[in-house]
Symmetry: C2
């Protein structure tokens, strides 16, 4: 017994020493590959750099706020396949950020899914440090070494400046031969902070990402925190985007006055220039604090009255491809779907997608592959 105990202690000592030795010399033999070599999904148009949503050099007429927010990588994901027994990542961010209502894993972290038994199944997260602009970590380990396809969602509320995927030195790693996201069908969603990802637990739980996995269609997230305000240059950009279905879920952001001025020309421009693409127009979700805050409640009602009016006017002009989703029960009736009365949690996102699904499914059936 004693000899075993001595051996055990000695082995533990060796193990600890070994660990220290390896790490002291930085001898991590993980093989890292720049993720730009893999397939990137969730993109409306090509951009340079790739992990952003609009190309700020080309898209000169956008407001400074939209330009800035379009650099956030929300909704963008990397598709790759590997038989590695672990997956690591190294990623750099433009900014070290703090949000009181967004968890770091969501705003600056990574979120990995694996294609398993004919479905996308959650596999792991990349955890950012405290306002660290250079991050690294293990996303999943101790796997069986089977070849699988993976989808890695990028930060929702930060600008990703580089990303490397790390696998075991002997493992295969590459672009997927048969990608499980069908990029010939694409849903482009324009919206607010809610769509951008506040306040999901991780990037994959924003309703646009859940929709992407549920349908297998590519989904483009054009959520701009506080700035989905229907400026006309955004409509001009949207008409250039390959899309099977458009969803306009931006009503939380413009004021009632802005909706009265902007919604009609914005939507009409889309309808006239992309007559083949059905549009789902979504009322602003009820502000849960509006049940007590009478000013907020009135503002929400005024917004929905204004967008309903624009919708009715366009319908009266004969636009058949325009569809409308009222906010009634969009996130349930228990008042528990938000973190702060405004921004949806995973619970709220699940509910919103469920409420959107019947109409969205009909529009998808009527839609065409992208050109």
């Amino acid at each position: 017994m004693l000899i075993f105990r001595i051996m055990k202690n000695w082995m533990i000592a060796l193990l600890l020493a070994g660990t220290t030795f390896t790490w002291a010399h930085g001898q991590d033999n993980t093989r890292y590959t720049d993720a730009r070599q893999f397939q990137i999904v969730g993109k409306g148009l090509p951009t340079s750099p790739v992990y952003q949503r609009f190309d700020s050099l080309l898209d000169k007429d956008l407001t400074p706020a939209v330009k800035h927010l379009s650099k956030h990588s929300s909704g963008i994901a990397v598709l790759f396949e590997t038989n590695s027994m672990y997956i690591k990542a190294k990623w750099t961010l433009a900014n070290g950020l703090f949000y009181n209502n967004i968890v770091p894993i969501c705003h600056s972290g990574l979120d990995l899914y694996a294609w398993q038994n004919g479905k996308w199944q959650w596999a792991g997260v990349g955890r950012p440090g405290d306002k660290e602009t250079a991050n690294s970590g293990i996303i999943v380990s101790n796997m069986d070494g089977a070849m699988r396809q993976y989808m890695l969602y990028l930060p929702t509320y930060n600008e990703l400046t580089s990303l490397e995927i790390g696998v075991a030195p002997e493992a295969q790693l590459g672009r997927p031969a048969s990608p499980k996201i069908d990029t010939t069908h694409r849903i482009v969603i324009y919206g607010s902070s809610i769509l951008q990802g506040a306040s999901a637990s991780r990037a994959g739980m924003v309703y646009s990402s859940i929709l992407q996995r549920k349908t297998g269609w590519d989904v483009v997230n054009l959520g701009f925190s506080g700035n989905g305000k229907m400026e006309f240059p955004v409509a001009e950009l949207l008409v250039k985007m390959p899309a099977s279905v458009f969803v306009l879920d931006c009503i939380p952001n413009p004021s009632p006055k802005e909706i009265k001025e902007r919604a009609y020309p914005f939507i009409k421009h889309l309808l006239d220039n992309r007559p083949e693409v059905p549009i789902l127009l979504v009322e602003t979700v009820i502000r849960e604090n509006g049940y007590f805050d009478q000013k907020t409640d009135q503002d929400t009602k005024d917004k929905n009255a204004a967008i309903k009016e624009a919708y009715m006017k366009l319908k009266s002009e004969g636009y058949k491809q325009l569809h409308y989703l009222p906010a009634t029960n969009l996130i349930g009736s228990d008042h528990e779907g938000t973190i702060d009365g405004v921004h949806l949690t995973d619970l709220g996102y699940m509910r919103q997608l469920e409420a959107m699904w019947p109409q969205l499914r009909q529009l998808m059936k009527k839609s065409h592959p992208i050109r």
Copy 2:
């Protein structure tokens, strides 16, 4: 009696005068009152200071980790009533903290519910700054001025060192005359980081808090991040606590070996000393990363095998008040109830409570008011 009441009122007046004086110079005429004057719920035993869960001076035999974590105010809430048109708060924290998997509103913020139409309805949050130890803010405003009862949940993962509730200078503010939490019935839950509140969006969305509002019974949250390890001194403390039902949801924390050593004496001590209190023993929730990480999967299985064995042994000894909840589908089957494979989001918490509810309801029916 009268002289005490006069003195009490005079002291309150002096306190309020002092508070008002300070703020008159900051040109905010909000009237702030120390929240310790109101009713505090979610407490297992009295402590000094009040916003913590164990009294570290008295409870000497706890591990340093449990002592430290017991200072976090998870599950504790303040009940008050007011007809103010707005509610503000000023609160101080012992530490400025960062968690990659917990949102600041949850770990260091405040979460307010109002009693409305015979239910607790969410009303607003107090937003902490970036590692600020002194915070203040508006929780809800523009209200109708009706007299209402409110419940304010405290930070889940920080030590609250002071709290003041702010109302309009002319508003009434006091302890509720008929508290909507029934403190003669109490559910005491012992658990892990999940129970403590990682990774709810706000304190009110932890399953213990949802249970409290759903039943109207008081619920005590004894979740200790990483440290619900069934040390015997914790059992000795639990037997001292007034309780109608005990829930043991700590299995995520101890190793299989620790469960083998500790679970039987820990639970037996509770059963023998509190034969009138039904106990619900909950298996550890499935680790969602365990579907890929084979080591994690094996560890979870070993934990649940060990706790099942302890349960079977105790049942064979005739303890009728011990009940068991297997982890099967505890948080659903879509693998989306966690932020990181371990810690539940609001979605996971809602699901766990739903899974626990049928058994819990039966145990509540069989239980007694606290002594």
